[in-house]
């Protein structure tokens, strides 16, 4: 059943909450400075309007969420 913990997790308390929240939260990354369109068809329509090529980032899972 539940396994014995040998490499312990930090203790979560009112005192450690803020520190652990910051530790868990990812730092801002530069890819977020790109105004990604999250739907392929919408991107295709935009590319037609603006006469630009599509740059498509296709991942297992949504790249703007969890991949």
């Amino acid at each position: 059943m539940l396994k014995e913990i040998t490499n312990p997790a930090p203790v979560l308390t009112d005192e450690t909450f803020s520190e652990l929240f910051e530790a868990c939260w990812p730092q801002k990354e530069r890819w977020t400075d790109i105004p990604w369109i999250g739907e392929l068809w919408e991107g295709r329509q935009r590319a037609a309007c603006e006469e630009k090529p599509l740059f498509i980032w296709a991942m297992n899972g949504h790249p703007l969420g969890c991949t």
Partner: protein, 342 residues
Amino acid sequence: MIEFVNERFIPVAVNNSRLQRQADDEGRFLRLISWQGRYGYSFEEAQARLEDIDHGLNHQGLYVVTTEGEVLGSRNRVFPGGKASVHGVGSDPDRFLWMLRRALEKWENRKTQRAALDIEDLAYRDPTFSWTEYPEDGLILHLGVRDLPREVDTRPSGMKREAHNQDYVWFRREEVLSMVPPDAAVGDVIPMPDGLVRRLVRYHLADYVRGETSSWPSEAIQDAAMTLTVTEKTPEWVDLRLSGSAQLFSEGSWYEGACRERGLDASLLGYLRFDRRVERFARFDVVAVGSRWGGTDYNVRQEDLEPAPIGIAMTIAGQEARDRTAPHACQRRGGLEWYFNA
């Protein structure tokens, strides 16, 4: 590079897992691209394979294309034997930039590109997937997950040490209101509704640190409980302290049988503020900390199966377009119903 992409391209980020199986024009468009860009078929050969949604092959990659699916550049090409040429996005920025520049050269001599305003809205979308429904009047949380420092750390440097991931958590308006009874008084301890607890633990207390993983099956929940204690109440707001714990355990066979179980033993703590005037949360900061062990086929834990600390943080999501991305657990066939009825 960021400015270059923003100025010269229409950047699109999509969930390939869904699109490669979609039986509609959007899915066909993705397959048209990937059969060329990832698998090396000609435009005509790719067109002949558009209806195949049971191919069982992965179509993820980076592609530069015209509106008609003519591939001008790509990464993650698969060569004979099935091995992709590049693992991971941006693993070689110079080669990536070279690909983009070369694609722009090809763009000047492109064979296809629709004229402006010539592409209609999709009239049909594969109904086996879910196509709504950002809960405008509900609660959207942005979630971050990563490994926490270890007393004994044998992880190699690089991705396996620095990896982190994210997701979004959705609650509908009626679910938000169910968390805060109107007559709640200071000192009251309110159980978090069972369905919301199950959603949080099955779909969001999972080891996504290095890559997507399966949600927990219902029977994996060994124990899970969350309570909200009213700590302050005024005519304008209600402050609550969330506390809880979750123990999850599942058996299976991953990494060709090298891993037979996975588990998570976590505690949760959070601070919430409910604005009574607009009936919305103004603060919803929650941390889950605990130990995870094992792995699944896609979360890259095959050499890191022993118990180790993991941390998950959630807070109210922003208002940018990407903050409307659906939770990972929704993005499967019948996903929304599955998600909201955990």
